[in-house]
Amino acid sequence: MTATETERPAADTGTPVLSLRGIEKSFGAVHVLRGVDLDIYSGKVTALVGDNGAGKSTLIKGIAGIHGFDAGDYSFEGQPVTVHSPRDANALGIEVVYQDLALCDNLDVVHNMFLGREMLKARLLDESTMEQRARTTLDGLSVRTLQSVRTPVAALSGGQRQTVAIARAVLWNSKVVILDEPTAALGVAQTEQVLALVRRLADHGLGVLLISHNLNDVFEVADEIAVLYLGTMVAQVEAGEVNNSQVVELITTGQATGRSAGTSKGEGA
């Protein structure tokens, strides 16, 4: 287990690494997801946008296995899979970086990156191997903002924390990384750093799903844009095919003028 994801060649980008078809999810009487389709490609950043309450969180929680979907097909690398728990998702190589990052302030960078999955030697913590691997992963992602991996996370800036959370997600030969609003709480310079990091993840061959409210960020890094509107996936298009105002229109009304339906899906089931 010395190889990191950063050393893998970019996978075939023709077929999606993760594919959802006809996903349905209800919470009691509330029908949250209505026949949602979504494709995540290796080596591409797919942005998932949508207004509050469109179902973005429900969708990523379902992908991550926090709660199952009611109906629909979930396939990973072309194979149909069932994901019932976060462990199932992790085993497939799906990692989620949540908005609140879930880092322990009192532990250092290495401890946080290996939290819950500590490497052991003779049943004891193998600190030097963990430190080496953490360093290799950060270097592989060209992270220059962290001077020492033995700094407690409490002493890191918001951008550095985000970096640690993302590095933790790619440490485990993951194939798909889902980022929930990674730039929401960051300043301009740190946003740039994190977006560059997001881009590098895709360049290293990972499939990246980026949830963001900031369309500037989306257009800066995304290859594909998927728009959720009231639980329906109204479009998944290449970023180059649409402009900012069309995406805003899709987010707010579910339709875009001056654009054919194309890959978008009509009103769902």
Binding site: Y98, A102, C104, G116, R117, R135, P152, S157
Partner: protein, 414 residues
Amino acid sequence: MTTTDEQPMRQQSIGDAFGDYLTRLRGGDVGALPAMAGLVALVLVFTALSGSTFTNAFNFSNLILQGSAIAVFAMGLVFVLLLGEIDLSAGYTGGVTAGVLGILMTRHAWPWVPALVVALLCGTLIGLSIGLLVARLGIPSFVVTLSYFLGLQGLLLLETGAGGTIAYRNNEILAIMNNNMPVWLGWVFALVTIVAYAALGFARRVTRVRAGLATPTILVWVAKTAAFAIVIVAATAYLSKERSRNVFLASLKGIPIVVPIVGALLVFLTFLLTRTAWGRHVYAVGGNAEAARRAGISVAWVRISCFMMCSTLATVGGVLLASRTNSVNPQTGGAETLLYGVGAAVIGGTSLFGGKGRPLDGLLGASVIAVIINGMTLQGQSQGRVYIITGAVLLLAASVDAISRRRASASGRV
């Protein structure tokens, strides 16, 4: 690749190591510094006030005996404090289980080993039940352990009978707090400790150098080992002196037997917390329970196991108390035992907010408290004043904790 990677091995000079330490201090990570400084200051003050009555070897060993039970209670409490929880019942847990040991040995004539094992298991069981109530039922630990505090106090009263005592007559158990190691064994013990400390430090260095990780210069290791060796040798030499007031009646010299016991506990508990995955999970749950849960750590089990650890160590503390007074009475583990235990952990640097603390903190804090009690009593100060000063020191330590936390969060999130 970062620029630092071009040099395969990163050697830090002694200046770098010292600079790192200063940065950590400024960042609010004060570690053992306040407790050490306080201890030195107190020793100087009492030496100035009382002179040789305070510094003589007899009083030194007395100090160790006074502090050791507090230290063991405090080391156990560190585990629950690390989670941001509290165990108010630790004192009486010690009393009740020391009572179990006394009943088994004295009334039922059990040999001491199985009796001690049963007493320790009783402690673990008490901790298990507290942990289950806190982690599974979700009752705040303050309330659960407050109930246990009352309940166990009652149980201890039933064990001893009103105003009665359970006598300890077993020589091995009594020896812990009343006898000393032979002088030669004390020196062997001191030497083994120093060699082990040096070897462990060196082995860690070698591993880091081999792995090509940033390593402080060898001088840091030399300085640390030398300082450690000096302290151990000085303490052993002092305790090896004849301290009996009348040598012809009874000779009194050597390291008290409780010292290697507390030392071994310190090493073992530190090892558990720093070198095992379980220990890492304890810190993680104390730092951010939600993050720990999402990382797949069984938060409930970590909680339960820490309460078990605390209560088991409380049993050891209770046995030490009973060994010193030769019996268990309705006040064993009562009165200020628990408060001194919590106080010692906090004075030593363990945070009441969770996530920060070490078993060593319990030992340092207990030393501070023992020095205050001992020094003030020698000065002929009343018990009232001792309580007031101890309270003030605890408040000071809690303030240091709060301020250092504020500094830590200020130096974080830029």
